[in-house]
Amino acid sequence: MLNGWHLWLTSLTWDEVATLLLGMSLLDGPRYCVATAITCIYDWVCGIKRSLFSKQPEVEFSHCPSVCVMVVGLNEGSGLGATIESIIGTYPRLEIVVVDDGSDDNMAEIGRAYAGQHPNIVTVLSRPWRGGKSSALNIAATHTTAEVVICVDADSHLASDAIWEIVQPFRDATVGAVSATVSVRNCFTNFVTWFQGLEYLQSIFVGRLVAARLNVLPIASGALAGFRRELLVRLGGWDVGPGEDLDMTVRIRRLGYRVRFAQYAFCHTEAPTTWKALLKQRRRWEGDGPVRHFARKHIDMAKPWHRDFRLSNMFMFLDGMTFNLLCGYGMVVWSVLMLLHPDMRPPPYAWLTFYVVSVIAEIIALGPLMYYSRNRKHDAIVALAFPLMPAYRMLLLGVRIFSNTAEIIYRKSFTEPHVPPHVRAVTWRW
């Protein structure tokens, strides 16, 4: 078979090689590996230069604004205690506002127990019925005057220096939002979480660094994100979700503020442990990004004549639309072309080539991951999932295509149970 494959490869014309490479560029892994490798080499060279010529020691944390951590959740009583424990005592000018969005469980009672122990730090707001995550965040925002607001999911645990890390970029007055690294806490539970563990490391820990450097980072994830509070007030708070974190980040960018990435502000979250739960989660995440928010709500970003047009936002728009929407459909077209192309048949060779190159790209992407990692032993074990990552990415690409199509045709995100029915019935449709 190897001889046959070798013969097939050497028989390819340049056009056919280009067609193969085109397909690979449509997949996330191979595409990211080039950008991350360049960024990594740049940082490596800069690091060497700094160590040789810089005499001033680097001050790690020099900015200490007042911070309000907003923990919003529905029926999150089981994880809330650990979340609050991971926050308390990690930062000096800290307040925590817990909003129980109409839970049926003991979330409010657990929050109040911590409020009793730390009356000047923890505040619990409980609403009798569900109103949605956005309004819960907005309620929390009315109860604070802190300079920086940090949103944390109620099932996420923060690293001990996460708040320090996330507030440092706010030293720059042009920074409006800071994204943080979300990592998978349960990545060794099974293959589902293992794949997600490596995916989060590549697409968030390293991928967002690249996006932030290129100034096209569109999202500060709801699991852990920092916002300048005065901008939240100016913008009237979060709009109705889903995708309220992406929406808020884009709106801050449209005001002319920058979005930075605090790479070492770690937030450990629980990932879905079954394929079904994973696919359901991704179907919800993927649909509202490029179609609902970019192509519908914030299409103005692509209009050069619009009053708040900015080139960086247009690049972000093009980046999001291309890689999150068009690449998916491009992959479908490419696959069909491959199947129909006479020289690409018999397909095993084409698909084998595709797979091998994708795995090589995954290996290349591990270099930057290991370079930036502060927990190399752990991350190296997580990275051992790389041979199967192309298949995992193909699966997620399929979910993305499905979700985007459903959003384009049915506006699926407006029927999601993520938002309670009485809010869904009256909210604006983009």
């Binding site: 707001l125 009315t142 109860h143 009237g236 109705v240 809010v423 009256v426 909210t427 604006w428």
Partner: protein, 298 residues
């Protein structure tokens, strides 16, 4: 004559009509047999009291009731047992081991060969202390403090003597400074004032905007300041939600009020968790309903 029990306690019941109309008052007093009295021989414990109600320290002295009426009786004491003050507490043991107490006053005594025969009536300082209302603390409305009517040392001496049993009736939160009763309410954390205005928030469903209701109010209608939607209807378009509290006195704004105490005596304000806890202590005693019951205890 009726023999009551094996202790050879003899109880001759002499009805009042048994005493002839010609019997003199002096005779009645000296024999201890008077109007409605029962003749008996019941051993008693007698506790001498001081003029201010304290029990004289030391062992109680023995006495024997020889005749008992409803409110008066005759007891005989040993030669050396004559108390300095006429107030006494008498304790009579029941067959089941309990001791019942009553307060009495020596009205007269007669020295005889077999001891001192004393005429007693129920009452005196002892009966005052044994009264129900004297053993339970009540609120002094001048200083707003829970107090017992007599000095603590009186009750302590009675407790030491084993007459009263100390009982915690309740626990109350009082001012840490003056131990007076305080009122408690949710108040401003800053100044402790209860004059606090609760601000109402409104949540507009369509845009998820949340702000004080006052920001939604215009001259004609309710309007969302974020998305400018007019004519908002409660329940359909928006909901009311509790917001921050603003103190009318110091202007402090806070999301949560603090339970605060206000002392009714010294006017000081303090957080409820800083209030002092006071035990309301009462005293329990088993009392004799009347002196006549002594005869039944033989």
């Amino acid at each position: 004559m009726t023999t009551v029990d094996s202790k050879s306690v003899v109880c001759d019941e002499i009805q009042s009509d048994a005493v002839g109309p010609g019997a003199s008052q002096a005779e009645a007093g000296s024999t201890g047999i008077g109007h409605g009295r029962s003749k008996c021989s019941v051993p008693l414990s007698a506790f001498a009291l001081t003029s201010d109600g304290h029990v004289v320290s030391g062992e109680p002295f023995a006495a024997v009731a020889t005749s008992c009426g409803k409110s008066s009786a005759t007891i005989s004491l040993g030669w050396d047992a004559m108390p300095a003050h006429p107030s006494l507490i008498l304790g009579a043991s029941t067959l089941d081991g309990r001791t019942l107490y009553t307060g009495c006053v020596l009205t007269s005594h007669e020295v005889r060969e077999d001891g001192i025969h004393c005429e007693i009536t129920r009452g005196g300082v002892g009966e005052l202390v044994l009264a129900d209302q004297a053993r339970v603390p009540t609120l002094d409305t001048e200083f707003f403090q829970y107090r017992l009517p007599y000095a603590d040392s009186v009750y302590e001496s009675w407790s030491r003597a084993g007459i009263l049993k100390r009982t915690v009736l309740d626990r109350v939160l009082v001012c840490g400074k003056c131990q007076s009763v305080a009122t408690f309410r949710f108040a401003c954390r800053q100044c402790g004032s209860g004059r606090v205005a609760h601000k109402m928030l409104a949540h507009h469903f369509a845009c998820a905007f949340v702000a004080p209701l006052s920001e939604f109010e215009t001259a004609e209608t309710l309007k969302c300041p974020n998305c400018q939607t007019k004519h908002l209807v409660a329940g359909t378009d928006f909901e009311y939600m509790p917001g921050e509290n603003e103190c009318d006195v110091c202007g402090w704004s806070d999301r949560e009020l603090e339970q605060t105490g206000h002392c009714l005596n010294c006017d000081s304000r303090f957080a409820a968790h800083k209030a002092a806890e006071q035990e309301l202590v009462g005293y329990h005693v088993e009392r004799l309903a009347s002196l006549a019951d002594i005869a039944d205890l033989g």
